[in-house]
């Protein structure tokens, strides 16, 4: 690319500014104000002027310096380097992350706040890995994953409150129930082509939420369920004083009581659950079923020709993905102690899907990076709470534009002819 002519740059900048002006006038320029006598209008043309001039000069600067062409390849090569890591190095990175995660609660700066955020990130990592089975490996677009998360959370909450079941008993039950819901939904709809499946799963997610919101006797409606039992350390509760006949956790180990014990315990619990999901996925990819998922993602017709039953294979991916969502849901319920349908809205599904896609479909490490990014960015922006979600949406678009194939692109099948497995 040669030097950009100033006149041309000026014209481009003027055009961008005109578009910005048209976009800004109606919604930025005028503000509806509620008054006693209906609505009235307030104008904010100074904002429009600032915005439009920012766009004009920004576009002019980009066009004149020609950086757009130079900057992007640089950034791209960073990402490419990430995805081209040799197998050993990427395994090393994964191992380093795991060690870091194991040691996190022990480092001095890890106060309650840090560990709580780490727990949230790990929940999303686990959800991302669970959804990765469905979207990344089997190639099925699921926009209602949060429904299974909700099923898991409500299963634990209701079973433990109504029947007094312990967390350890509820956890597998919650997973099984979520998997059963996955089969129930999947059975009729998995014949559908990709995008039809997407809308049905989206509708299913909304259905679950609406039912939870309205079936008050069952789920408490919009008020949700509160005082859900906290988990105990295999029968030893995390409490300052034990109820009669019980030993508390700190008594068992002869420690000083600290509320941090429970948080650290929760942290390791979700770390173990997430790592189980990860190990499961990695093992599945080497089994015939996992290979069939990937084969189905690449070419359904070829699979049918080879005698693979697509419905059963898809159903298994759906059910297993749902099961991990259910586990994560049960953990979420016990961690929060309170759940309501609000926690299971479509935006959650969208965030989880974004984690999978931004991470690079099918990449396990990519999911970790993307989950950390998408959870930490809103957390750091907490001070700008008003602009938080605006910036979040913008970041999603920008990352997609920067790396459409995901942060760590990893679409290569686990097995290939004449190559390494």
């Amino acid at each position: 690319m040669g030097q950009v002519k100033p006149a041309e740059a000026f014209r481009e900048a003027a055009l961008a500014a005109l578009i910005a002006l048209l976009l800004a006038i109606p919604l930025v320029g005028f503000r509806l104000v509620d008054g006693l006598r209906g609505l009235s209008i307030e104008t904010r043309f100074d904002w429009v002027a600032w915005g439009v001039s920012a766009v004009f000069f920004g576009r002019l600067a980009i066009a004149l310096s020609g950086t757009r062409r130079r900057l992007l390849p640089d950034l791209k090569s960073v990402g490419a380097a990430l995805s081209n890591l040799p197998g050993g190095l990427s395994r090393f990175a994964g191992g380093a992350m795991l060690v870091g995660a194991l040691l996190l609660p022990l480092v001095p700066f890890a106060d309650r706040y840090v560990v709580e955020i780490a727990i949230t990130v790990l929940i999303y990592v686990m959800l991302g890995w669970g959804l990765n089975i469905v979207v990344g490996l089997a190639g099925l677009l699921d926009l209602g994953y949060v429904a299974f998360y909700a099923v898991g959370a409500y299963s634990y909450a209701l079973l433990s409150i109504n029947f007094g079941w312990s967390f350890w008993l509820c956890l597998p039950v919650a997973g099984l129930l979520a998997a059963a819901f996955g089969v129930m939904l999947g059975f009729p709809v998995l014949r559908l082509r990709g995008d039809y499946l997407a809308i049905v799963t989206l509708g299913f997610g909304e259905m679950i939420r609406i039912i939870l919101l309205n079936w008050k006797d069952f789920s408490g409606g919009p008020n949700g369920i509160s005082s859900i039992p906290r988990p105990d350390f295999f029968g030893f509760p995390f409490a300052r004083t034990a109820e009669d006949g019980q030993t508390t956790f700190h008594q068992l180990f002869g420690l000083e009581f600290s509320p941090m014990h429970r948080i650290v315990f929760l942290y390791y619990l979700i770390l173990i659950l997430a790592m189980l999901t990860n190990l499961f996925t990695l093992r599945m990819r080497r089994l015939p079923l996992g290979r069939a998922w990937e084969a189905l993602r690449e070419d359904e017709i070829a699979c049918r020709a080879l005698g693979i039953n697509p419905t059963m294979i898809k159903l298994s991916a759906f059910a297993l993905g749902a099961m991990f969502g259910g586990f994560a849901g049960a953990f979420f319920a016990t961690r929060q102690g309170f759940i309501s349908p609000e926690s299971f809205s479509f935006i959650e599904s969208a965030v989880i899907l974004a984690i999978v896609v931004l991470g690079g479909m099918g990449s396990q490490i990519g999911v970790v990076i993307a989950a950390a990014f998408l959870i930490l960015v809103p957390e750091f922006l907490r001070d700008f709470s008003q602009y938080r979600m605006v910036l979040f949406g913008m970041a999603m678009v920008l990352i997609m534009l920067w790396r459409p194939q995901g942060l760590v692109a990893h679409r290569s099948p686990s097995a290939r002819l004449g190559g390494r497995a």
Binding site: I19, L22, L23, I25, P26, L27, F30, R31, L32, D34, G38, L39, I41, V135, L141, P188, V189, R191, L192, R193, D195, Y196, A198, I199, V200, L202, G203, F204, E206, M207, I210, I211, L213, N214, D299, E300, I301, A302, F346, I347, A350, L353, A354, V357, L358, M361, Q386, Y387, M389, V390, F392, G393, M394, A395, M396, V397, M400, L401, P404, R411
Partner: protein, 304 residues
């Protein structure tokens, strides 16, 4: 019986709104095979621009509401179309040709952005306006129950039918429509034969946004209140309508919209209203089990 007729009228009106939004989904899907998640927000922006325009016009006090509506319509069409164009240009065009889910995630990002952008700029509270069009015809009366079709409902149904007719003409008879159908079938071939693909796709988004603006204006007039969250559910249902009718098919989108409007109206009348959305999605699932490509969709042949 009277009650049923009333619900039929209400359902048709609601269905017209869904149908108009659904066309935007179905056109975009037809031409680039992408679920434009941000379309519901475009509709919400159309509704906001309408209500802002009405509030600005308010003090001038137009003699006839029709003049006011036409001015607001023009304003909403122009500005909403710019939004539709800009979204495609900024967030989708650079991703054309990359893998299938990339534009979808980008669209979800745009949707989150637009929702919170309007929230931030206009506040979270519901914005009510005075009814612009009042009155209607009484069709039948039984005891105290009056079956009524308001002037507004007549206007909505007439406008929707007119738009549909205009649209069918546009797609079937004009060169733009021909270019669109060509891009739908084979974009590369169309480009080789001299169709400006970028321009055609941009115009598709502009048209979709324009129809969403009309739907937004209708919503403002009919319900009289707007907030930043209306786009999500309406978009979801309109997309359901597009799928129900067979995505990619324009008459299908309209049919799906009408069906969903009617289901909602009748369900609300005879069953617990809180579950009306469950009924809508339930019917979608049932229809898709028996007709996997929707009511009017062409079964597509898979090729190796």
């Amino acid at each position: 019986m009277e009650y049923l007729v009333q619900q039929l009228i209400n359902g048709l009106t609601l269905g017209a709104i869904y149908g108009l939004i659904a066309i935007g989904y179905t056109m975009v899907y037809g031409i680039i095979g992408m679920i434009n998640f941000a379309h519901g927000e475009v509709y919400m922006i159309g509704a906001f621009i309408s209500i802002i325009a009405f509030t600005i016009l308010g003090p001038f006090g137009f003699a006839s509401p029709i003049v006011a509506i036409i001015i607001v319509l023009a304003v909403a069409l122009i500005f909403t179309s710019v939004y539709g164009w800009a979204i495609e240009r900024i967030a989708y065009r650079p991703l054309r040709g990359s893998f299938r889910l990339a534009p979808l995630i980008s669209a979800i990002g745009v949707s989150i952005f637009l929702q919170n952008y309007v929230h931030m700029l206009q506040g979270a509270k519901m914005k009510p306006i005075q009814p612009v069009v009042r009155g209607g015809f009484v069709l039948a009366q039984e005891g105290t129950f009056v079956v009524q079709i308001t002037y507004l409902q007549i206007g909505i149904i007439v406008a929707t039918v007119a738009l549909m007719a205009g649209f069918t003409y546009l797609i079937q008879r004009t060169s733009l429509g021909r270019a669109q159908r060509a891009c739908e079938q084979d974009r590369k071939m169309a480009a080789l034969l001299g169709v400006d693909v970028d321009r055609t796709i941009s115009l598709t988004f502009v048209m979709g946004a324009a129809l969403a603006a009309v739907a937004g204006l209708i919503f403002t007039l009919y319900y009289g209140a707007v907030d930043f969250f209306i786009g999500f559910l309406a978009g979801l249902k309109a997309f359901t309508a597009a799928v129900l009718g067979g995505i990619g098919s324009l008459p299908g989108a309209m049919l799906g919209g009408l069906l969903i409007g009617l289901i909602e109206a009748f369900w609300s009348a005879y069953f617990p209203i809180a579950y009306k959305d469950v009924a809508v999605f339930g019917i979608l699932v049932v229809v898709l089990i028996f007709r996997p490509t929707g009511l009017l969709g062409r079964p597509d042949i898979e090729k190796v």
